[in-house]
Symmetry: C2
DNA sequence: TGTATCTAAGATGCATACAAGTTTGGAGGT
DNA sequence: ACCTCCAAACTTGTATGCATCTTAGATACA
């Protein structure tokens, strides 16, 4: 048996190039269900079945099953053997936990950048000040959200820790579902959020890690208030 | 169509009761591959195929595929379309990232407990002082490792944030693979590790969060040194 | 009415078959 | 010796069928 095919030539592209030339069925299923989850088509506690989705998308259950597994690992679904896929109910407690986790990881990024040197903080601060999320403009709701996501993702990525970056992006997806569910009129918050982003980026540019973390915490607390959950967040520095 | 079966009776047990009465094939496949990954049977860069594993375990590719998907989501494998499953190579950089992430999450736990009140810190400190990981004893390597894992997991769980607890447990599994790969004679470290656990628990019991975080950082740095990676970890408090 | 039981419907778990992409190695020309 | 091309042997992607488990609801009975 020729099983031990070790140390081959390194495969080229793990992530698809983004081209959607005949997208795999599993990916379509994944996107379809996730979209439904995010826009509220599948409410909390809803029980999905593989066959149901498969029929809708005109494909077999196999790729749908794969999509379900992915969504379970991301915390969106909970699979019950022989029963179905439960849309994980969003409790205020979970939303709170998510926010705490975000605060933790973003604070880590700031701390690490600070440990790497004030100039690193300043560099990312300057970069973020140029970011769309720091400038009011006529953006659609979706664009605004995407800008916000990119802003925070950029900060975390700057810490140059791929493990943390991955964890963080998974959290953001979950939070997206929460904010989408608790439909708050984004537009009214928008000005405040832009201002907060500016404040955070400015603190970074000035090399003030403590202030940056403080403003980050305020920013997240503001979001929590907007979606109506207890805005208390622990202080992460002694 | 009777699709909208919302708000059903809440399903009972998501996690199997632990009984292994005819364990599902997918679980067997998962355990088999993960074991092979952890004990080094599948070295870095090895290319696994579904069929290979399926043949070994005398089952079809379907459950093996499911196991591969799970392992990919946990960061052990990287699936290449039509090519195979690559055993993710462990680079020193990744080991470092993992440790930073662990430090971040465990430090969060300490901070949150401190924010919840000194007595909460003390309570978990007292509990951890009783833990096997704090007492030298005649334990096998596996038992020692399990105790260590449980010790840290308990600390994180005490912060009462399920999201963080989940993230942390995933990280621990990945670290297990690293320490298993870089076979260091655990036994020689054991006394020192036990001492470090004691020191950490004692600091917690005394309500000294800053000292606890310091000792945690030292503890993790010690581990990093033992497996031969750069032991530099950022200070997470300003 | 209330309750135990049985049955049918619907769900997943897994095996199997086939389609399609990728790699590899050699035949054949230069 | 060195390309070029092609075919066979891999791989995964997906569809389909059947076994099994779960559960809701009808039915029979007290």
């Amino acid at each position: 048996m020729s099983n031990t095919t070790s140390s081959e030539t390194i495969p080229a592209s793990p992530t698809s190039t983004g081209d959607h030339e005949r997208e795999p069925a599993a990916d379509r299923a994944y996107r379809h269900v996730k979209t439904g989850l995010l826009d509220g088509s599948y409410p909390d506690g809803h029980l999905l079945s593989e066959g149901e989705i498969a029929q809708t998308l005109r494909m077999s259950r196999t790729p749908v099953r794969e999509a379900f597994l992915r969504l379970q690992s991301e915390g969106f679904l909970r699979l019950y053997p022989k029963r179905g896929a439960l849309v994980v109910p969003i409790t205020p407690a979970e939303a709170h936990s998510l926010m705490e986790a975000r605060l933790t990881l973003e604070s880590f990024a700031i701390d690490k950048l600070a440990a790497l040197g004030r100039q690193r903080l300043a560099a990312i601060g300057r970069e973020l000040l140029e970011h769309p999320a720091c400038h009011p403009g006529e953006l659609s709701d979706a664009e605004t959200h995407e800008a916000d996501r990119a802003f925070h993702a950029r900060l975390v990525a700057a810490a140059d820790n791929p493990v943390v970056t991955d964890l963080y992006s998974a959290l953001r997806d979950r939070q997206l579902r929460i904010t989408a569910t608790a439909r708050t009129h984004e537009s009214s918050r928008r000005a405040a959020v832009t201002e907060q982003h500016n404040g955070l980026a400015t603190a970074l540019r000035d090399g003030d890690a403590a202030l940056a973390k403080h403003r980050l915490r305020e920013h997240l607390a503001h979001t929590m208030r907007a979606i109506g959950i207890s805005e208390h967040l622990p202080h992460l520095d002694t």
